[in-house]
Amino acid sequence: MSDPPLAAPGAGTGRSGRVGLLVWRISGAAGPVLAVILALLAIWYAATVWLNAQWVLDQAARADRMAGFGDILRGTLNQERPVLPAPHQVAAELWNTVALQPVTSRRSLVWHAWVTLSATLTGFGIGTVLGIALAIGIVHNRAMDMSVMPWAIASQTIPILAIAPMIIVVLNSVGVQGLLPKAIISAYLSFFPVVVGMVTGLRSPDAAQLDLMRTYSASRAQTLWKLRFPASLPYLFASLKVGVAASLVGAIVGELPTGAVRGLGARLLSGSYYGQTVQIWAALLMAAFCAALLVGLIGLIQRLTLGRMGLAR
């Protein structure tokens, strides 16, 4: 594929390793980020009123009343089943399910997040190892390059939600249950960005760098280990960021056909089933927090690793 590195959620964040610089950056970015968040909240509130107003008007009409603007405001911002819950409702729900529940409770969002994260991390691990292995094969074997790549692309056009239940059933029939089926679905989504990034990365050493290895008559393994692999690390990290986000989506998707009994996917679904939009939004935000956390974590590892390798300038 092409040279520009994959854009990861989080791509474009700086690579500075210096803590001081980091702090400076964060505080420097805080102003604009805060402003955008405030603007989003304002839009959110406006949308809450706008989207929920219909229901208030309908209710008023059913009761043969007229609804004034005050009624609409009051009626839209605290509905039990809003079309769009107001930010403070979501915040309250998050507070109730994160802070006020013991983390082992089934009503604790932290517990559900942990369930999802454990599947995500397992799947991400499998996907990463698989992706790197495939990439190494593709780079070293022309037959693999030509035959696997087009099908890897095709595999990603298959709607995962459609085959997830089948994967679960098939695994079930061979006795695999619990964490693993979810992890496999999550691996299916995360291996692709890793393959693409690693193939580009392993091919990134230029002809001169490869020639140097040839003048030493280095073996393939030595070339891989001492040249291709270190050279591919920046690409690897960029793809890992995409991959980990994809893994999380995979784990959530995988939770639906496993009975959706626990995990953020289950919360999304049961919220959706009972029309509890507040619960959906809380689970959604929690999922996004998890993704941000994972991507941030990889970014940190990236800074440390590349910093140690002198690649972070």
């Binding site: 040839r214 001492k226 300038r313």
Partner: protein, 233 residues
């Protein structure tokens, strides 16, 4: 096209851009196949010589691996060739002293100036002590002053170790100053236009460049180049 390089020679290749100097060096190194004719390096085919690790190659650009410190860049060939730890360290220190880079082994390439990087890459080629050195415009990117200094050091090294050196350049003074023989090449098809055996003594102070003998040789090289040129650029 045939050319006889004696052990202990310092041979320079000079010629217009695209005439095949780099290609020629790469064929000697077994990095590329000759299109015709045959090359032998001390009785081996280039490919055998490459496998036997019979030469050190300095590329046109420094080509240090950016994720390795200077010290570990120099150790790279030693690791690959399986030298033991202590020996790796000893040799690394030795060659870095040789190119006046002691104390920089912990730095990364990008923390050094271009000239220092180029010297580190020369140290890397010297580390495993091959009898043949192939150098492709190693000083091309440097300014005149630094270049002069490195030229002096290279001559010194050559005199002390008795290595055979093949050296590509596009600077006439550099070629004349360094070489025992100068191969002048002409473009399309890449041919040898002239082979000049230098009358200069082996011992060469920098101001030999203002001597009449030097200017005479330089003139001959320039003529050889111009003759091969036609109105090609």
């Amino acid at each position: 096209m045939s050319l006889d390089i004696r052990a202990g020679d310092f041979v320079s290749f000079i010629g217009p851009s695209g005439c095949g100097k780099t290609t020629f060096l790469r064929v000697i190194a077994g990095l590329e196949e000759a299109t015709g004719g045959s090359v032998s390096v001390n009785g081996m085919t280039p490919d055998e010589a490459r496998r036997a690790r019979a030469y050190g190659y300095v590329f046109q650009a420094a080509g240090l691996y950016p994720w390795r410190t200077i010290g570990r860049n120099v150790k790279l060939p030693l690791e690959i060739m399986g030298f033991d730890r202590a020996e790796q360290d000893r040799r690394m220190r030795d060659v870095l002293r040789l190119v006046e880079l002691e104390g920089f082994e912990r730095k990364y390439p990008w923390q050094l100036s271009g000239g220092m990087q180029q010297r580190a890459s020369i140290a890397r080629a010297l580390a495993f002590d091959a009898a043949l050195l192939l150098m492709d415009e190693p000083f091309g990117a440097l300014d005149e002053i630094v270049r002069d200094r490195l030229n002096e050091q290279l001559l010194d090294l050559w005199a002390r170790t008795g290595k055979t050196i093949c050296f590509v350049t596009h600077s006439i003074p550099e070629a004349v100053y360094l070489s025992t023989r100068i191969v002048v090449m002409s473009p399309r098809p890449g041919r040898i236009a002239d082979v000049i055996d230098s009358p200069l003594p082996r011992e060469r102070p920098l101001d030999i460049r203002d001597s009449a003998a030097f200017i005479e040789v330089a003139h001959r090289v320039r003529e050889g180049l111009r003759a091969g040129m036609g109105d090609d650029v």
